[in-house]
Every structure is written in C-alpha cells, then in structure tokens.
C-alpha cells in the first residue's frame, strides 16, 4: 500500500499557474513545492500538478496547484482547469516584454473560463536577470493596480519572492473566503462548523484525518 500523502489541513485551495510559454511556471511550482530549480527543465505538455501546505493566520492551507502549458492553442485543453480555481498566478518574464504584453489576453481567458471572484496575482518572474530587464517594476505595478491584481517579482532560480508569492495569494484567498463565510453565517446564522473543510466550490466536507 502506498504511503498516504494527505495530511491534516483546514482548507484546500486550487490555484492555477498561467502565462506564456517559457516564463518559468514549472520552475516556480517546483521551487515552491520541492525547493528545486531545474535548469534543464522540459516544456510542459498539457498540465502538471503538485501540492503544498502552508500556515496562514493560524490555519493550515493546502494548495493544489495546476501548472499549464503556455502555448496559446493549448488553452483548448487547459482552460478546463480554471474551473473551480480560487487563485491564479499570472506569470510573465521580466526579461521579455512580449510575455508582459500578453498578460491582458490571459486576463481575458480567466474572465471567460474562471470563477468571477478568482484571486489573481501578477508575477514577474526571472528577477535575477537584472541586466536584461525589459519590463520595469513601475510599469507592471501600475498595470496590476489598474486591473486590481496583486503583484510581485520573483526568481525561481534564486528563490526570491517565490514563497512570498504563494503565501500572499493563499492568505488573500483565505481572508476573502472567511469574509464571505462570515457574511453567509450572518445571513443564515449557521455556516461552516469547526472540523469541516471548505473545498474549492465552497461545499463543506468532513475534515481529513491525520496521517495513518
């Protein structure tokens, strides 16, 4: 029998990694979940999947992260994965302005296929390539403000900002969800009880037991 991989957690959030091909989505994922960076990484075909749990405001939050192929035509397959996602990291490469220009198209993609209240964070990856910087931080920041997105610059290579990016988006999702639940509680005088877990679609289920 295989080892059980599910540990105890309070919340399970589904997050997608999107953005042009070659911006470093897969390495952001491996840096966050396994603290690994692979210089010899391969193009992602279809979707890949990984998980990691973090602590936020005293709760254990498990992130279920879907890494998607970046080429535009793959959206025919990958857009199905936006469904049920409560967060999206929209990644561009700070050394290639073209990948930032496409951010707007990715936002449209999210508007068309994802839940309306999905939390989106704009991520300028490869911040270690300072000498090749083609997208200025101010430019990206004002774009993010304009579109109501969170924003961070990261480097999957030297780890800068990676944990912070995931920590921030997951905490943000958690806060939004608690606020929403609180509102629901007030409305229904009921809501989610202790020992239950909110899943991606807002349904509640029994809390997972500890590792056997």
């Amino acid at each position: 029998m295989a080892t059980r991989v599910d540990e105890e957690y309070d919340y399970l959030f589904k997050v997608v990694l999107i953005g042009d091909s070659g911006v470093g989505k897969s390495n952001l994922l491996s840096r966050f979940t396994r603290n690994e960076f692979n210089l010899e990484s391969k193009s992602t075909i279809g979707v890949e999947f990984a998980t990691k749990s973090i602590q936020a405001e005293g709760k254990t939050i498990k992130a279920q992260i879907w890494d998607t192929a970046g080429q535009e035509r793959y959206r025919a397959i990958t857009s199905a994965y936006y469904r049920g996602a409560v967060g999206a990291l929209l990644v561009y490469d700070i050394s290639k302005h073209g990948t930032f220009d496409n951010v707007e198209r990715w936002l449209k993609e999210l508007r068309d296929h994802a839940e309306a209240n999905i939390v989106v964070m704009l991520v300028g990856n490869k911040s270690d390539l300072k000498q090749f910087k083609a997208v200025e931080t101010d430019e990206a920041m004002s774009f993010a403000e304009q579109h109501n997105l969170a924003f961070i610059e990261t480097s999957a290579l030297d780890s800068t900002g990676v944990d912070t990016a995931f920590q921030r988006i997951l905490t943000e999702i958690y806060r939004l969800m608690s606020r929403r639940n609180l509102a629901a509680d007030e409305a229904q005088a009921g809501g989610i009880k202790a020992g239950q877990t909110i899943d991606l679609n807002g349904n509640s289920k029994d809390k997972k037991g500890g590792c056997c």
Partner: protein, 533 residues
Amino acid sequence: MLRKLTLGSRRDDDYGERDENENGVVNGTLKPGEGFLPDYEDEGDAIVKSEFLSGDDRERSKSANSYKGKLEETNESNGNDAINGSASNGNYFHGRSSLGDDLGVDDDDSDQEPDDEEVLSDMERDSKGNFLDERRTTVAGGDNTSYSSKEVEAPLTDKYGFIIDPKNQTGSSGGARTTQVTISEKEKARRAEVEALRTTKWLAMIKDWDNIKDTKRTRNRIRKGVPDKVRGLVWNLLGNVPTLIKENPGRYTELCESTHIPSQDIRDTILRDINRTFPRHAMFAKEGEGQDSLRRVLVAYSLYDEEVGYCQGLGFITAMFLTYMPEEEAFWQLVGIMNHGPCCMRGLYEDGMPEAQKVLYIGEKLIKKFFPRLTKHLGRQNCHISMYATQWFLTIFTNTFPFDMVTQVWDCFLAEGWKIVYRVMLTFIRYSAPKLFRLEFEQIMFFFKQLPGAIDGPLLMEKAFGIPLKTRHIEHYSKKFDTLNPDIANRVQIKEQKKKEQEERIKKEIEEAEARGEGGVLTTTLSIPLAEL
C-alpha cells in the same frame, strides 16, 4: 552518419571505463539484485555477472551502452554501410543466438478476441506478469537508490544518447531513458540475443522491402520491435521518406534558406522549446549541432505548413527522429506523420487542437469500456484522462517514457497508426488498476507522474498486444465524437466552404471594379486577405 560521428567524437573521454555499467549496474540506475518481475526475478545474476557473460557478451555490453556516434567510429563495421549510415546503437553481430525464436508473441498473431465482458472483469483483476516496478510507483516514497562514487564522476549516456545522471533518475525529469527497472543479467543477455537475431532477419527484409512491406509477417515483425541498428532506415521506409524527398527535390533546403520567416509568436515558441527538448540527451543538452538541426527542422515545418506552424509537443517527436536520421529525412518524416498515412497527426496540433480533444475522448471511452469499475473509482476521485494522458497522446509517449518502449511504440505507430497508442494506454491502466483502486486523487496523480520510471519497455510492449482492442472499438468512439462535435468533425469542410465563399466574393468585387475601370488597384489590395485565409 556524419552528424553522429561529430557528436560521438566530442565525447571521447567518456567511454574509457564503462564495461562495469551494463554488467554490474543497470544503466547506472539501480543496485544489482533489485528484481521485480515475477518472470525475470533477479536471482543474484548480477553478482555472478562475470561468469555469466561470455567474453563476446562483455564486449557487446560495453559497446551497447556507449553513445551511437562513438560506436560508428570504433566498432567493427558489420559490412552494411546503408545501415550504419542510418543509425546504429549496438554491436550485436558477434554472437549468434541459440534461441529458437523472438519474444513470446506468436508469428501469426491471431489477435483473438475473447468475449468482451469476461475480459473486462479478468483484466481488472489480473495483473500477473506486471511490467511495473512496485517500488518505483510508491506514492510519496523517495528514491533510495545508491550509487558508487565512480558512477557519479563519469558523465555517461545510455544506449539512446541520454545522459545518465545518478542524482536525476526519474523518467519524468528527463534522466536516462532506457528502462530503469531492474532486469536480470540473464534476461538482458536474452534480449540482446533476440535483437541480434532480429537484426539479421531485418537486413534481409530491407533488401526485399517492396515485396514484403505489406505482408502480415512484416507487420508482426514490426510489432515485436524493429532492431535499433536498422530502426532509422525502417522508419524512413515506413514513413515513405525516400518518395517524399524524390517528389520534392531541394524543398527542404529552400525552406531552410527562405527569407520568409515564421511569425514572431511561432518563432519565439520554437526558440524557447529548443533547449527544453530532451535537455538530458547528449545531442540536445547544449547549444550545438543537435539543437541547430532541431531548430531548422521545426522552423522549416512551420513554413511548410503555416496553418499548424509549430505546436509544443512536436519538438520531442522531431528530436527523436533526429537521433535516428539526418536532418532532411527527419523533416520529411515529420511531414509524413503529420499529413499522410496511418498517423495523420496534424489535427492534434492545429489551432484549437481538435484532434487532441478527440483522442482524449476515445481514450477515456476505451478505458471505460475495458475497466468500468476502475472508471467509476477514477470518476469519484475527479481524475480526468486529460490530467495524465494529454502528454502521452501529444508526444506519443516521447517526452517522458523510457526510449526502449517509446521507439517500439513508434515502430508500430508508423506502420499501423493510433491503435498501438491506445493499446499502450490500456496496458498501463490494466496493470496499474489494482494499485489505482487503493489510491485517492493526489496519489493517483503522483502515481501517473512516476509511471514512466517504473516501466520495463519491452515487457510492456509484449503485454500491450494482449489487450483485446479492436479497430472497430476505436472507430465506434471516433464516430461518436464526430456526432457530438459536428463543428470539429466538419472543420475542414467548413473551412473550405468559407474559403470558397470568400474567393467568390473577392472575384465578384474584382469583376465589378474592372467594370468600373479600377481593376489593377483592387486586385492588389484584395489579394492580401485571400493569402491570409
């Protein structure tokens, strides 16, 4: 041949001390004595390896693990230049096999189909003769393989040219790509002998190709696997490459030298994928001839077929071709599999990826048909086929699976088309089923991620032909998909209809303009949208 010689000679230093590799440690990946297969249990064979192998065998093992180019330089010629020129991996020509015949598949391959329902339940229960290495599919388990310091120091390649890195062994991360599971020395020697015997048979077959290519016997020999030494040549014959080159003289060079370049988007995507395609293969690991060839073929194809341009996934397939044949042949092989014959892969990659959706649908339905109970379990776990099989189909297994399996799948795929792809998929499921039943969603995902590293390629292929899949099953679901998705099914007709309407409209406008005496101006302005269709 030239290409490989260059690459081989660049790596001269790497081969000095390699006799221990094949004999002692399977491709430097596993400790001796890690047997897993009931049929081929390793009973300490690896420990008595030196007694077990004859002198000739030791030589053979040494060279079989070297890089192809090196082999062409140093090994004795087998006297067939045509074959050496194509691709050669192992020097299998010394020992004659005493084995009566090839691997267990019968020559007449009657493909008997027992009653479906009965098979289903049997298939879901029975996983005897499993090709999966249990330890390598242990979910959330670490790889405890240990390595001697000597192996860590020497950068090596396996017989397909993949660099062996002791720290990076799992199939999905792109390390060594021969089968990584433990196989006894006895079984390895048996396989080598079978390969030698088959090579002799194939040499005769190639000479007489036009007469024997459509026979059942040839089909069955292909199903058993084309020997690696003649593989490039046979793939060319199967893909009709010589004819395509003859019919399009100089076309490839023209495309390479064309001043017309692909769109920025396509160009960027190709360039970004070049060093992300088999980064652990000696030919493609660094900037150089291998990467240059790959880039040229992909760019040339994007110009040859502007509607498809380039789609991620094609890089892996093209790179695999390049390890077996020169650039121009690899290009026409790509043209062939995309547009002609039983493969016809073009629809997988064009905008909207319509055929990718179709093969995933067919795959899903076939799994449901053969494994209804497991399908229910997977459904309850919200595990959809696109989560694990998208890359299987879009690269026909090339991007993560062991190359002894991949190349054998391609032997058959080039000859017969998609059936083998579904067969292999169903074989994975069949032998994983007992395990999958016990797993939950995340564990299932990790299981599939680790699957490539746990497969014994040749054994899997043997089992794949035992799956009672029929062409009519595939056709049935194919038609069903077309009925459910008329837009996708009729996309070619719809596109042609639109094009025709557009052309007629333009023609009419030109005629009207000419009647007004403004002909020349309108013709030039209107020719642009027509070309963009």
